[in-house]
């Protein structure tokens, strides 16, 4: 049987999918054990026990200076920045994308500006943001917004302007105004695409968050990783990275499920 025709059932997919992950974990454990056999004080590839010990301190013991549980304070701070950044970017992508996608005069006016902003590498703007907005939360959130919003705007804009012309004409023959077409025809059809755009923007959003936290911060997941890097604390860095990955996966899955629940018509015949 040709490989293109081999369909894998659900249990088979879970088994096959977990195989490479399991192999990587085993490889890591093997290498770590090897290094620890040679040097029990090795910091580069910590054993799970070492990670658990290091993390226990961050998870359950209040910090001596701030009195906070460090891990949870980091998570909360990072998620808050990410949430606000994603929220602002999503909302502006929806509004700007809709208006630009549907109204040719607005697109002619602001289209080149959006394209221009989108090609600027956001990290290059980071110094400007820190100078203009200070080192506080605003600059970090602004970096996330500037980093992901232009791509999302262009995505929604392209999607809206690619709606079949027949639909727009049909709506007009049913008496709809530009505003009514926007809120009843374009907006609902842009929503599933918006969810998709947010999913794709999650990756870059994390990158910009960690970058901003690494450079100037006093709390946050990215801040912690870059702080303990000075002490070669791989026993903290690796669990933190795993935690970030887990958060990202949960967000991704949650967005997929929400989109399928809220817009069944956009997900094939599965409703």
């Amino acid at each position: 049987m040709r490989w293109v025709n081999r369909q894998i059932d659900r249990s088979g997919r879970i088994l096959l999918g977990s195989l490479p992950i399991l192999l990587l974990v085993l490889l890591y454990l093997f290498l770590a054990a090897q290094r620890h056999a040679a040097n029990p004080m090795d910091k580069i590839l910590p054993l799970p026990t070492g990670m658990a010990e290091a993390m226990a301190a961050l998870l359950f013991q209040p910090d001596q200076l701030t009195g906070q549980l460090v891990f949870w304070a980091d998570t909360l701070a990072s998620l808050q920045r990410l949430g606000i950044g994603l929220g602002i970017a999503t909302l502006s992508a929806l509004v700007v994308g809709l208006v630009l996608g549907l109204l040719p005069p607005i697109r002619a006016t602001f289209g080149p500006l959006v394209t221009g902003i989108a090609v600027i590498p956001p990290i290059a703007l980071l110094p400007i943001l820190f100078i203009a907005l200070g080192l506080g939360e605003t600059a970090k959130v602004a970096l996330i917004v500037i980093g992901i919003a232009p791509v999302m705007v262009r995505d929604i804009m392209a999607h809206v302007s690619a709606l079949p012309r027949e639909q727009i004409v049909k709506a007009q023959t049913l008496g709809a105004s530009s505003w009514q077409i926007m809120i009843r025809v374009a907006l609902p059809q842009a929503m599933p695409r918006l969810f998709h755009a947010v999913k794709l923007a999650l990756g870059p959003a994390w990158v910009f968050l960690i970058s901003a936290e690494a450079i100037a911060s006093d709390v946050g997941l990215g801040y912690r990783i870059f702080l303990v890097r000075r002490y070669l604390s791989m026993d903290v860095i690796i669990p933190y990275v795993a935690w970030i990955a887990l958060l990202a996966i949960v967000m991704d899955v949650a967005l997929s499920v929400m989109s399928r629940r809220m817009f069944p018509w956009a997900h094939g015949a599965s409703h």
Partner: protein, 269 residues
């Protein structure tokens, strides 16, 4: 039908040009209220262009179009309904919501949504219209769950609920199976009679054009320059009035025997 039917739509010396390419030249047409006009012709003869200028989606380069004696606004409006071959229903709305949409736009300019009694009334009206096109049992399906024929039924109901002065059909049954197409022919005939519609239909199917129409227009180029084929536009080269038997709906026969030569002449597209 009354003895002297009124002219509903008239085109006077209409030209459509894209750059130096002439698509339609000197089209003069009068369409009477209550007629069913089929437009046929080879590909690229400007059938769809003609439909688009009547619809208001495009503006003719020259000439005037009068609807009920007043010039058309160069924009689509609720006085002209349309059914395209595809994409003329909204995929994100159920059958009922698709049909109510036209009423909601009219009655709620700001929200385009109706609530309470107004909504129930609109839904009742839409349900009645859907019953008439044979979708009475499918009110809560989404377009993706329906066959092509059902989607076209929905597109027709959507358009008819606005009571348009003219219904424009752009190859409405072109993508359907032959069996379904016959059903749709019966349906459109019935609706045309029941609602006293005026219909302009563009089609590739000559049999369909003669079966349904009370008048068949064949568009083609009168003149042809082999060195610059784009410099001559198409116009109505045949204008055949037909008389349909007023038999009970379902059996649709044409009173005029189609001369074979004409069918062959126009059939090359």
């Amino acid at each position: 039908m009354s003895a002297r039917p009124e002219t509903l739509l008239s085109l006077r010396d209409v030209w459509v040009e894209y750059g130096d390419k002439i698509v339609l030249e000197k089209v003069d047409l009068d369409i009477e209220a209550g007629s069913f006009v089929s437009i046929i012709g080879p590909s690229g003869a400007g059938k769809s262009s003609l439909l688009r200028i009547v619809l208001g989606q495009e503006v003719p380069t020259r000439g005037t179009i009068l609807l009920d004696g007043t010039p058309l606004t160069p924009e689509c409006g609720p006085d002209r309904g349309v059914v395209f071959q595809r994409y003329s229903v909204f995929p994100h709305l159920s059958v009922l919501r698709n049909t109510v949409f036209g009423l909601e736009c009219e009655k709620a300019p700001l929200t385009a949504r109706l609530f309470g009694k107004a909504r129930r009334d609109a839904e009742a009206e839409a349900a009645e219209m859907l019953q008439a096109v044979g979708l009475g049992d499918s009110l809560h399906l989404f377009p993706a769950q329906m066959s092509g024929g059902m989607q076209q039924r929905l597109a027709i109901a959507q358009a008819l609920i606005k009571r348009p002065r003219i219904l424009l059909l752009d190859e409405p049954f072109g993508a359907l199976d032959p069996g379904i197409r016959a059903d749709m022919h019966a349906l459109i005939t019935k609706l045309w009679r029941d609602y006293a519609l005026t219909i302009i239909m563009v089609t590739h199917d000559i049999r369909e054009a003669f079966t349904l129409g009370t008048r068949v227009l064949a568009l083609d180029k009168r003149r042809h320059d082999p060195h610059a084929p784009h410099r001559f536009g198409a116009t109505a080269v045949y204008d055949l009035p037909l008389r349909r038997n007023d038999e009970p709906a379902g059996e649709t026969a044409v009173a005029v025997e189609i001369p074979l030569s004409i069918e062959e002449t126009i059939g090359h597209g």
